[in-house]
């Protein structure tokens, strides 16, 4: 236990086992972005997976929506200490997108409109752990929350769930993305509090 602050009582929230260490619950949906919000029309949107050999798999908006859609209810945890429980999303599983992809690379870099990047190991994207989401709470995903579509990797801190995602690049070796080059952890497991370097 750390330094006690006499007279500090706190909010006396219920002790929720779904809450990772150092996180607090929020009912709102805070926004964390590094710059202006890109405005991407769905007809201009595309998503690609580029393998280590340079092979490119490409989906436009209509092709993407024609894929099998998953409804996902999950908790999300932001590195700035808020968590939101039971959020609902609709999107395409990365398992579906990777079905036709041949690759031996074990790492990926997510690329977003506006230049944002974040690194995620491939195994953290597969087996029902990650989606490209385009709806939140039954509504079209707002641009400030990453619309038209964002990566959703809820078991990692939420900066890994890249907003305005447009592609995944397969990498043989792990490389830092944007926040990972600016002081944040390479992996970002909220249960191990992997916030900063």
């Amino acid at each position: 236990m750390g330094i006690i602050s006499p007279g500090f009582l706190g909010r006396r929230r219920r002790d929720d086992p779904a809450l990772p260490p150092g996180q607090y619950l929020t009912e709102s949906f805070p926004v964390l972005s590094a710059g202006p919000t890109p405005r991407i029309a769905p007809e201009d949107w595309e998503f690609t997976i580029t393998t280590e050999t340079g092979a490119v798999h490409r989906w436009n908006w209509d092709e993407f929506l024609a894929l099998k859609q998953d409804d996902v209810t999950t908790d999300i945890h932001c590195v700035t200490s808020w968590s939101k429980l039971g959020t609902s999303w609709r999107g395409v599983s990365l398992d579906t997108l990777f079905e036709s992809v041949e690759s031996e690379a074990e790492f990926t870099m997510a690329h977003s409109y506006g230049g944002y990047t974040t690194n995620v190991p491939l195994e953290d994207l597969l087996d029902g752990k990650a989606w490209i989401a385009h709806q939140f709470d039954g509504e079209t995903l707002e641009p400030e929350h990453g619309g038209p579509a964002r990566l959703l990797v809820p078991h990692l801190y939420f900066w890994k769930s890249a907003k305005w995602v447009t592609g995944l690049e397969m990498l043989r070796q792990d490389e830092p993305g944007f926040w990972e080059s600016n002081g944040y952890h390479m992996y970002g497991d909220p249960w191990r509090e992997e916030r900063y370097w």
Partner: protein, 248 residues
């Protein structure tokens, strides 16, 4: 980068407004920080319950001290304690300073446009102070402008110091009063709009480095207006306070 929890001592406190207070903390072993970084503060209740919040650093000090300015939120859990209860000599647990993106680098000689919404002025004040303190690096010659949107004169942080800084030919401070104008002002209060923004900030042709900090809706709107006015999105860095906020 300091990533573990350290014990900091509160060495002075200063009221900024009725709802906001600056705490000067001493973090043994700290050797300065970058302008725009933040720290995490952890409070522990007598029964072990803890709460953590992030606060921007307001100061640009070279040694083991730094300032945070905390505004009390109506429904806040940590901020009321830091604004109302913490006293000089108290100890707090602090992580950081952290952050390598929303920072101003004194070696960058680009013109700088700072845009603050309310308490979003805090990390921008660190940049103004770093600019004023550093007389040797290239950045000292950079023109700095602050556009500060605030409810009224009573809500302005660092008022006297901002007036002093604005005496420099390189620094310009513009206030937008959204609810209450200063006594004697001929300008009625009102929210920032795209036209006022365009005439109050450095033009896109100067290619300024732009830092915007405030509530989410404020930052979203101002960043959109700037990109529509021709500022490069790549030159705009934003820091948003969570939760709900008002538009400009």
């Amino acid at each position: 980068m300091r990533t573990g929890w350290n014990v900091a001592e509160v060495i002075s406190v200063k009221s900024e407004t009725r709802q906001a207070r600056t705490l000067r903390l001493r973090l043994p072993g700290l050797t300065g920080h970058r302008a725009g970084q933040h720290v995490d503060v952890r409070l522990t209740a007598p029964d072990g319950y803890t709460a953590v919040r992030s606060y921007s650093v307001a100061s640009a000090l070279p040694g083991d001290e730094l300032d945070i300015t905390v505004e009390e939120l109506d429904d806040g859990e940590v901020s009321p304690y830091l604004v109302r209860q913490v006293a000089v000599g108290d100890q707090l647990e602090v992580r950081g300073p952290v952050g390598g993106w929303f920072v101003w680098d004194p070696s960058d000689a680009s013109p700088v446009q700072l845009i603050a919404g309310g308490s979003g002025v805090v990390p921008l004040m660190a940049m103004l102070r770093a600019h004023a303190a550093d007389g040797t690096d290239a950045g000292y010659a950079a023109p700095f402008r602050l556009l500060y949107s605030v409810r009224g004169p009573d809500s302005v942080f660092y008022r006297a110091e901002l007036a002093e800084l604005a005496a420099s030919p390189l620094v310009e401070v513009t206030f937008i009063y959204t609810r209450t104008s200063p006594p004697g002002s001929s300008t009625p209060p009102g929210r920032l709009d795209a036209a006022t923004l365009a005439t109050s900030v450095l033009p896109p042709t100067d290619n300024p480095a732009v830092f915007i900090c405030g509530a989410t809706a404020f930052v979203e709107t101002v960043a959109d207006w700037l990109t529509q006015a021709g500022h490069s999105p790549a030159r705009i860095k934003t820091e948003r306070y969570g939760g709900t906020g008002t538009r400009p």
